[in-house]
C-alpha cells in the first residue's frame, strides 16, 4: 500500500484515535498569552478521579496505546500521580506537557521510576526575556529548573516543547543545542489562534519570510525534531516535510477537555467542533465511533477556493482551527498560506467577525491584560 492510499485510509478514520490529547484541568499557575485552552482557573465540573479512571478503562478497551496529557497544568490535580499510575498500569503510555513548576527533585525521581512515561516541558524562548513575554514572569527559570531536576534524576530523554513565534524563529538552532545539552528531544509546533491565542496570534505568528525559514530549518533537522505534524501547510514550498501531511481532527486525533467534552482536536475548543462528552451514554467510544461531527470529518473534504491551486495536494489547505478562529472559510486557504492567499483572505475579514474561542478559564485579574491601558 502506498503512503497516499494509507493517508486516504486514515482520513476515513480509525477504530480508535492514535493521538488523543486529554486536558486534565483548566487550572494553571501560568497564563500564557497563546494558551490553546484559555486556562487559568479550575472548572468545578471537571471529571472526578473515578470518572477519569472510567475513561482510562475505556481507552484501554479501545487499545489506545498512549495519551497526551495536558491542561492547564496537569500536575496541579491532586490525583495526578494516581491517574498517571492507573493509566500506565492499564497499558496506556503517557506523555504529559507541563510548565515544570511542580517538578522538584522528589517528583523528578518519582517520574523517573515510571515506565512508558514521556515528559514535555514547554519553553517558548531561549532566554527569559523572549520566553517570559509569552509565558509569564519567572516561567523560564521554572522550566529550566525542571529540566535540571529531571537530568539530575537521570530521567533520560525528556522533551523540550517550543511553540514557534515571530520572536523565537531565530532561536531554533539554540533550542536544538539546549535539547542536545540535556540529551533531550526538541519538539517544535505551530502557533494557533486558539484559546487566548485568538488575541495574541496576529502579533505572534511568524511572518511570511519566517515561514520559509522554519520550512528550511525543518527540512534540515526534521528527522531529529518532533513536530506533531503541525507544519504541513509549509509543504506548498516544495519537498514534503516528514510526517503524514494531513489534518487528523476527528479522524486520528481528538481532544478530551477537563469536563469530559470531546472535541475534534486540541485547537478547536468551540461548540462547532464538539462531538459529545465522555459522560454521555456510550462514553468516549460512542462519541468517537458515532458522533455526526466525526463521521462528517471522515468524509472526503472539499478543496473549495483552493481547488484551482496546484499546491493543494501538498498543503491540504492547512489547519482547520487556524482558519476557523481567524474568521476564514474552512474550505479555503490557511491564514498562513505560503502562497500569500491567506493574507488576502484575512484582509477581507471584518473586525470582530471571527468566532470567539469558548470555555474561557482565564483568571479574572489577568483577563484584560492584553488590552493596552492608557494613563489618565
Amino acid at each position: 500500500m502506498s503512503v497516499q492510499s494509507l493517508v486516504s485510509q486514515l482520513k476515513a478514520g480509525l477504530d480508535a484515535p492514535i493521538c488523543l490529547t486529554w486536558e486534565l484541568t483548566y487550572a494553571c499557575n501560568l497564563q500564557c498569552v497563546h494558551c490553546l485552552s484559555s486556562s487559568g482557573q479550575r472548572d468545578p465540573r471537571e471529571l472526578t478521579t473515578a470518572e477519569a479512571k472510567r475513561v482510562l478503562d475505556e481507552l484501554h478497551d479501545l487499545q489506545v496505546f498512549y495519551i497526551n496529557i495536558g491542561g492547564g497544568e496537569p500536575m496541579v490535580r491532586r490525583d495526578f500521580f494516581e491517574l498517571l499510575e492507573y493509566s500506565i498500569g492499564r497499558g496506556i503510555g503517557v506523555k504529559f506537557s507541563t510548565n515544570g513548576a511542580f517538578i522538584d527533585p522528589d517528583k523528578a525521581r518519582r517520574l523517573t521510576s515510571m515506565d512508558y512515561l514521556d515528559i514535555q516541558i514547554s519553553l517558548d524562548g531561549i532566554d527569559a526575556i523572549t520566553n517570559d513575554a509569552v509565558r509569564g514572569v519567572g516561567s523560564y527559570a521554572m522550566a529550566r529548573r525542571a529540566m535540571e531536576n529531571l537530568a539530575a534524576a537521570d530521567f533520560g530523554p525528556f522533551k523540550i516543547s517550543v511553540v514557534v513565534t515571530r520572536h523565537n524563529v531565530a532561536q531554533l538552532d539554540s533550542f536544538k543545542a539546549l535539547a542536545d545539552s540535556y540529551g533531550a528531544q526538541l519538539r517544535v509546533t505551530r502557533l494557533r489562534p486558539s484559546g487566548r491565542g485568538a488575541d495574541s496570534w496576529h502579533d505572534l505568528h511568524p511572518t511570511n519570510a519566517q515561514q520559509r525559514q522554519i520550512y528550511e530549518w525543518l527540512l534540515a533537522h526534521g528527522d531529529n525534531v518532533l513536530t506533531g505534524d503541525s507544519f504541513f501547510h509549509l509543504n506548498a514550498l516544495g519537498e514534503s516535510l516528514p510526517g503524514l501531511n494531513m489534518c487528523g481532527a476527528g479522524r486520528v486525533v481528538c481532544l478530551i477537555d477537563p469536563i469530559g467534552d470531546v472535541y475534534a482536536c486540541p485547537f478547536v475548543i468551540h461548540d462547532q467542533f464538539k462531538a459529545g462528552s465522555v459522560r454521555d451514554e456510550g462514553g468516549f467510544a460512542r462519541v468517537w465511533k458515532q458522533s455526526p461531527l466525526f463521521l462528517e470529518l471522515r468524509e472526503p473534504q472539499s478543496a473549495g477556493a483552493c481547488g484551482s491551486c496546484g499546491s493543494w495536494d501538498a498543503c491540504q489547505g492547512g489547519c482547520m482551527a487556524a482558519k476557523f478562529f481567524t474568521g476564514l472559510p474552512l474550505d479555503g486557504p490557511d491564514p498562513e498560506c505560503v502562497g500569500g492567499e491567506g493574507e488576502h483572505a484575512l484582509a477581507g475579514v471584518s473586525a470582530g467577525a471571527a468566532p470567539r474561542p469558548q470555555m474561557d478559564h482565564t483568571k479574572p485579574h489577568t483577563a484584560r491584560r492584553l488590552i493596552p491601558v492608557s494613563a489618565g
Binding site: M1, L6, L14, D15, F65, G91
Partner: protein
C-alpha cells in the same frame, strides 16, 4: 539479520497490535514508534509467527500462496528492522 523463510520469529514482547480497517497498527512501547501494517494478510502472518518454527511454516499454515512468499519475506524483514517482530530466542 535478514529475514528468510528459515527464520524463527515472533511479535516483539513490547509491541501491541490493534486491528484497523486497512490491517493493523503496531505500537512499540519501548521506542514509542507506531508502525502501520498495511495488509490484513501480513497481520495474520505476524500474529501466527510464534506458533510455528519458521517463516516458511507460518506462511504455509496461513494458506499464503507460494507466489506471494517473497513479498511476505520482504515485508517481515522490514517489520524486523523496525523491531515490530524479533527473533524467537532473543
Amino acid at each position: 539479520m535478514t529475514v528468510t523463510l528459515e527464520s524463527g520469529l515472533r511479535l516483539h514482547p513490547q509491541v501491541a497490535l490493534r486491528p484497523e480497517p486497512f490491517g493493523a497498527l503496531a505500537y512499540h512501547y519501548g521506542n514509542r514508534r507506531l508502525v502501520f501494517l498495511k495488509h490484513p494478510d501480513v497481520v495474520s502472518v505476524v500474529r501466527e509467527l510464534e506458533r510455528h518454527d519458521t517463516v516458511g511454516e507460518t506462511l504455509e499454515a496461513c494458506g499464503v500462496a507460494a507466489l506471494r512468499w517473497p513479498s511476505f519475506v520482504k515485508a517481515l524483514d522490514s517489520l524486523h528492522e523496525s523491531d515490530v517482530i524479533c527473533e524467537r530466542d532473543s
